[in-house]
């Protein structure tokens, strides 16, 4: 660090050092902020869609949107924290004696107020976003209730079984027609499990003697993984099955094939 910079960094008492935005440390912090913000935005935008499994339902799309956009919204705030920390880190003093005394800034009320107001605003955005999505899902589920396909899901140590009441078939794979809302009634035979059709982006616990309900609307044809997301004992890791989101025609023929074998999937 050269001398004139130090002068700029640490003004002596009573001395004005020009406008805030002209200060070297402020400028450097700004560029660091821009860097971190862009990195976080790009990571959020690119990484989640890349990592997360194929989106097969409206709900899963909603989840992925939240992951991406929350990252983008929080990037500027995280950027400030990291930029200031990095700026001070670059100014480090090494050696066995303490550095010279810094500037005695006890507090800065406008900064505290702006920071708090900013974080409250950010919170409200997150909350409103979440509530709107929840409300949209709930309204849609209520509207769809007449046309939706019902599947009764039972978790037992350590497998899943499905019963389609309208079709009167018992299965151990979860096949669903595309673009038709589904209602899952979930229950457990023993301990708690958690029903998780991964690519549909919904999840609910299976409890003994208490039915829980979730809704989803598959929007794309593809392979489904069904997993248990609640530790349920010895073979929890292996409590999984598969399934498919199919076209209506494929689904109908799948149902018929099971009905042909007495309503129980072989």
């Amino acid at each position: 660090m050269v001398n004139h910079e130090e002068e700029v960094l640490a003004p002596t008492p009573g001395q004005r050092v020009g406008t805030f935005s002209k200060r070297k440390d402020v400028k450097r912090t700004f560029w660091l902020w821009l860097f971190f913000t862009i990195v976080f935005c790009v990571l959020g935008r690119l990484a989640y869609p890349h990592w997360m499994p194929p989106v097969l339902s409206k709900e899963m799309q909603g989840n992925e949107d939240i992951m991406i956009w929350f990252t983008v919204i929080s990037a500027p705030i995280a950027g400030i924290v990291l930029a200031v920390a990095m700026e001070s880190f670059l100014n480090m003093h090494r050696g066995d004696t303490p550095p010279e005394e810094g500037v005695a800034i006890r507090t800065n009320t406008p900064v505290v107020i702006i920071w708090t107001a900013g974080s409250v605003f950010f919170c409200i955005v997150a909350i409103v976003w979440g509530l709107v999505v929840m409300n949209t899902d709930a309204t849609k589920a209520a509207a769809d209730s007449a046309t939706s396909l019902t599947v009764d899901v039972t978790g037992a140590q350590w497998n899943w079984s499905f019963f389609y009441p309208a079709q009167n078939i018992h299965t151990h794979t979860l096949n669903l027609p595309v673009d038709r809302p589904v209602t899952f009634n979930v229950i457990s035979d023993d301990v708690n499990h958690s029903f998780w059709p991964v690519q549909l982006g919904v999840k609910v616990d299976a409890n003994r003697l208490a039915t829980t309900v979730i809704h989803a609307t598959p929007t794309k044809v593809g392979v489904l993984d069904v997993k248990c997301a609640e530790l349920c004992g010895l073979y929890h890791a292996y409590m999984e099955t598969s399934g498919q989101v199919q076209t209506s025609a494929d689904f109908t023929s799948w149902v018929s094939s099971i009905q042909a074998t007495g309503g129980v999937q072989q």
């Binding site: 008492p13 929350f70 880190f89 006890r106 507090t107 920071w115 979440g130 301990v191 004992g233 929890h236």
Partner: protein, 621 residues
């Protein structure tokens, strides 16, 4: 009222109350009596009982474990004080001085010693032991998960590893700052001669000590299948090892209540003259808020454990739906404790770093009031957010919205903590010593932990993420990245006062970078696995997740090697490190005004405080 004039230890006669039982009791007698009580109970209760009935097995085991704990306390002399009070023969001043361990050398660390400095070191060793055990289990977990289809351990052992790693680390992290620093440093920081209740202080440590063998016994009783959350009804169904878990928590909750009452009272009532509330060091504020939050939080966990124990021993049905019970009751009680507990862990670590930052930046703590508002806000909100762990449980989906609101708002006080730290760093030239490095590590780790918490608390995103590895990575970033990092920073900072020697710098640096780089590789890998859809607590996984898990395991080994390096540095420095000056960092809090070894009553003359301890820096105007 007995008055004691303080004189240097060398010129004072070592108290030796002859004929008194307390001189003959120590950890060894405690263990002997504890083992006798334990096995005595075991054989007495086993006789004539049908041991094919699991209820009877649970009854016998639980009673034996609790009697071990009680017997140990009898044998070490913890109950002499209450008994002497009962019969109206209070302990004499000489006996109390003996209990304080003055002049007894290393022996006092193995006795029922009431000196807060001894208790602090006991906690430090205890915490390090627990972290070592928990860390070893973590390494075994990661080894098993290195490749899909690995059979390093079988699923039963794996589930036990997950559960016991969890509970060991949770217990260790709850006490990691408030145990060693809260006991050793904090009373000196506030200018007190000792804790408010020295005997309760010793009690809190030794009660906790008795929990350690009980928890270990879980391994010999078949392990626990439930994870550290011990959800019912899985815990009702679990084998005999579960009893060890229940007994541990019940014992630990007692210890926490006692320690919490003690620390809170000490800070409220024993501060030095002139130490008004706005002059109290921020670490003391943080530690106090943390233990004061723990006092009402842990009894709910204890009730949940007692109910589980009753289901398992006398066939009640709290969690058995057939007779009107519900797993949701357990989940509620558990998380009413569980979420405050997260902040019980977090706050002291952050507060320690806030104590460190001003010293090394040579600037005042930025906005002391914002720091307190942050801690208080977090503590206050933390009791209103528990059901965000239960969004997907099916319990009252209508409440998900309100709980999402309270949970998201925790980011406001949390944001204040960041503001305080970066405000302190702003325009500073930080002295890059070991403690200061932890401040930077904290900022990075907790930022990631905090932001991922924002997704998780949003109900729709939690639909996908709940119960996945993403959650595991998130809370490791907050608990390990923030609380443990804070505690390691605190250890490096206060090591000279606790051992009289400086912590080895080279060892510290190597350890720091190994741990931090390894940690980020480990848990960024785990975020990846979680986003890809891997559930948590699985002994095996699909090939899809292989890369993410291998990355995590490599990171884990780096953390392991780093922690071993730190252990070496600690042992090496404590034995033969550079002798520390009285105030190596040039700090302004009271603990740096006393010499090492710290005298029995800390201060020759009670200190008088005239300002807060953050008067660093040149005037800004």
């Amino acid at each position: 009222m007995t008055t004691l004039t303080h004189a240097p230890a060398s010129s004072r006669p070592i108290p030796n109350p002859k004929k008194s039982l307390i001189t003959r009791l120590h950890m060894g007698t405690g263990m002997v009596v504890g083992i006798i009580f334990c096995w005595g109970t075991y054989f007495a209760m086993k006789a004539g009982r049908d041991m094919t009935d699991s209820h009877n097995v649970n009854k016998v085991l639980l009673a034996s474990m609790m009697m071990w704990s009680f017997g140990f306390l009898v044998g070490i002399g913890a109950l002499i004080g209450p008994f002497r009070w009962l019969i109206g023969k209070d302990l004499t001043a000489e006996e109390q001085l003996y209990l304080a361990g003055d002049g007894q050398g290393v022996k006092r660390y193995f006795k029922y010693c009431t000196d807060h400095k001894v208790v602090g070191i006991q906690y430090l060793v205890g915490v390090m032991t627990m972290l070592g055990a928990g860390g070893t289990m973590a390494m075994m977990i990661r080894t098993n998960l290195a490749t899909p289809g690995s059979h390093f351990v079988n699923p039963n052992v794996y589930n036990s590893l997950v559960g016991l790693h969890g509970i060991t680390m949770i217990i260790a992290l709850i006490i990691v700052s408030t145990g060693p620093f809260g006991n050793y440093i904090m009373p000196i920081m506030i200018g007190a001669a000792d804790m408010a209740f020295p005997r309760l202080n010793a009690l809190s440590w030794w009660v906790l000590f008795t929990a350690i063998p009980v928890l270990c016994s879980a391994w010999f009783l078949g392990g626990i299948p439930t994870g550290w959350t011990a959800y019912a009804p899985l815990s009702d169904q679990a084998g005999p090892g579960m009893n060890a878990f229940l007994a541990t928590i019940i014992i630990f909750a007692l210890s926490t209540a006692v320690a919490g009452a003690n620390i809170t009272t000490t800070v409220i009532a024993m501060r030095a003259k002139g130490m008004k509330w706005n002059r109290v060091p921020i670490f003391v504020i943080g530690a106090t808020i943390s233990v004061a939050l723990a006092v009402p939080a842990f009894p709910t966990f204890m009730v949940a454990m007692i109910q589980t124990a009753m289901d398992r021993t006398i066939a009640t049905g709290f969690y058995d739906p057939n007779v009107g019970g519900s797993g949701w009751l357990y989940a509620n009680l558990f998380w009413i404790m569980g979420h405050p507990e997260v902040y019980v862990i977090l706050i002291p670590g952050v507060a320690a770093l806030m104590e460190i930052a001003p010293v090394f930046v040579r600037k005042p703590l930025f906005s002391y009031n914002a720091a307190i508002a942050g801690f208080a806000g977090i503590a206050g909100l933390s009791i209103l957010v528990w059901a965000h762990h239960m969004y997907m449980s099916g319990w009252m989906p209508a409440l998900n919205g309100p709980f999402m609101v309270t949970t998201e708002f925790i980011s406001v006080p949390t944001g204040l903590l960041f503001l305080v730290l970066i405000g302190t760093l702003w325009r500073g030239k930080p002295w890059m010593k070991l403690p200061m490095l932890s401040v930077y590590a904290f900022i990075w780790d907790f930022l990631i932990g905090g932001i991922t918490g924002i997704y998780l608390s949003d109900v729709p995103a939690d639909n996908y993420l709940h119960g996945s590895m993403y959650v595991t990575a998130h809370f490791h970033y907050t608990l390990m990245g923030a609380a443990l990092t804070g505690a390691i920073g605190g250890l490096a900072y206060w090591f000279p006062k606790m051992t009289g020697r400086m912590l080895n710098e080279r060892g510290g640096y190597i350890s720091f970078w190994l741990v931090q780089i390894g940690f980020n590789v480990l848990f960024l890998g785990m975020f990846l696995a979680g986003a890809e859809g891997q559930p948590r607590r699985v002994a095996d996984y699909a090939h899809l997740f292989a890369h993410a898990n291998l990355i995590s395991t490599i990171g884990a080994y780096s953390v392991g090697i780093g922690m071993l390096t730190l252990l070496w540095a600690i042992i090496h420095s404590a034995r033969s490190g550079v002798v520390a000056p009285m105030n190596p960092w040039g700090a302004k809090t009271l603990e740096w005004t006393v010499p090492y070894p710290v005298p029995l009553v800390n201060f020759d003359t009670p200190p008088v405080v005239t300002s807060d301890p953050y008067g660093y820096g040149r005037s800004a105007k």
